[in-house]
C-alpha cells in the first residue's frame, strides 16, 4: 500500500521534505519506522512520536494505510 508520510519541525529538517508517499508492505508502525531510519539515518538520534490518522500511536500499532506523521517534541504556547 502507499502511505502519505508527513514531517514536522526538526524532523522535516532531517528528511529535507515536509511530506512524501511511500510504498510499504503490511506491518506495524515499528516496521515503517525502521524503513524511515534506514532512509534517513539521522532520525536515529532524534526524539519524535508517530501519529496515524492524526492519533498518536505506539510502535506495535498496525499500519492502516492512513496518513502518518513524525512529530518532534511539542512547543505550543
Amino acid at each position: 500500500m502507499t502511505i502519505e508520510i508527513n514531517y514536522f519541525g526538526m524532523i522535516a529538517e532531517v528528511t529535507g521534505c515536509n511530506s512524501e508517499r511511500m510504498s510499504v508492505s503490511e506491518g506495524a508502525i515499528s516496521d515503517l519506522k525502521g524503513m524511515l531510519v534506514g532512509k534517513y539515518p539521522a532520525l536515529k538520534n532524534k526524539d519524535f512520536r508517530m501519529a496515524q490518522n492524526q492519533e498518536l500511536v505506539s510502535e506495535d500499532t498496525l499500519l492502516t494505510g492512513q496518513e502518518i506523521a513524525l512529530l518532534p517534541p511539542f512547543a505550543g504556547g
Partner: protein
C-alpha cells in the same frame, strides 16, 4: 471532519484581545473572565539571544486536539465560553503567540479551567517552534 481553526497568521495583537473582551459584555451571566497570554521571550542561550519564534503545526491534528481539549474542559468545568487562538509563522520577542480566554458565572471555575487548558495545549497539541537567534542561526523549542 473539519474542526474550528484555532490558528492565526503571525502575532496576536492587543487590539484583537481587547475586541474579544468587548464582545463578552453582552453576556451578562458572566461574572469572571480569565485570560492567559503566551509571549515570546528574548531568551539568552549560549550567548545568543532569541529574536523570534517561527511556529508551524500539524494543523489538522492540532485543530482536532484543540477541539478535544475544548470538549473536555466544558465537561469538567462550569464555563460560559472559551476561546483559544495560537499563532503560526513568525512571532517576534515581546509579541503574543497564545491567547486562551475562559469565562464563567463564578471565579473559582475560571482559575481551574484556564490552567487545565494551557497545560493541555502545551502537552497534547502538535505545534513546533523554531527559535531564531539574532545571528540567524536557530534551535528547536521544547516545552518544559
Amino acid at each position: 471532519m473539519n474542526y474550528k481553526n484555532v490558528f492565526i497568521k503571525g502575532a496576536i495583537s492587543s487590539e484583537f484581545i481587547g475586541n474579544s473582551i468587548a464582545k463578552h459584555q453582552s453576556k451578562t451571566n458572566i461574572g469572571a473572565h480569565n485570560i492567559f497570554l503566551g509571549q515570546v521571550r528574548a531568551d539568552k542561550i549560549e550567548g545568543k539571544v532569541v529574536a523570534a519564534i517561527e511556529y508551524s503545526a500539524y494543523e489538522e491534528m492540532a485543530n482536532k486536539n484543540f477541539h478535544e481539549i475544548r470538549e473536555a474542559t466544558f465537561e469538567k468545568f462550569n464555563l460560559t465560553c472559551m476561546h483559544i487562538y495560537h499563532s503560526l509563522g513568525l512571532v517576534k520577542t515581546g509579541e503574543i503567540c497564545l491567547f486562551v480566554f475562559v469565562s464563567s458565572p463564578r471565579r473559582k471555575e475560571v482559575f481551574k479551567a484556564l490552567e487545565y487548558v494551557v497545560e493541555a495545549i502545551k502537552a497534547d497539541v502538535p505545534v513546533f517552534g523554531k527559535e531564531l537567534f539574532e545571528d540567524e542561526s536557530h534551535q528547536w523549542k521544547v516545552n518544559s
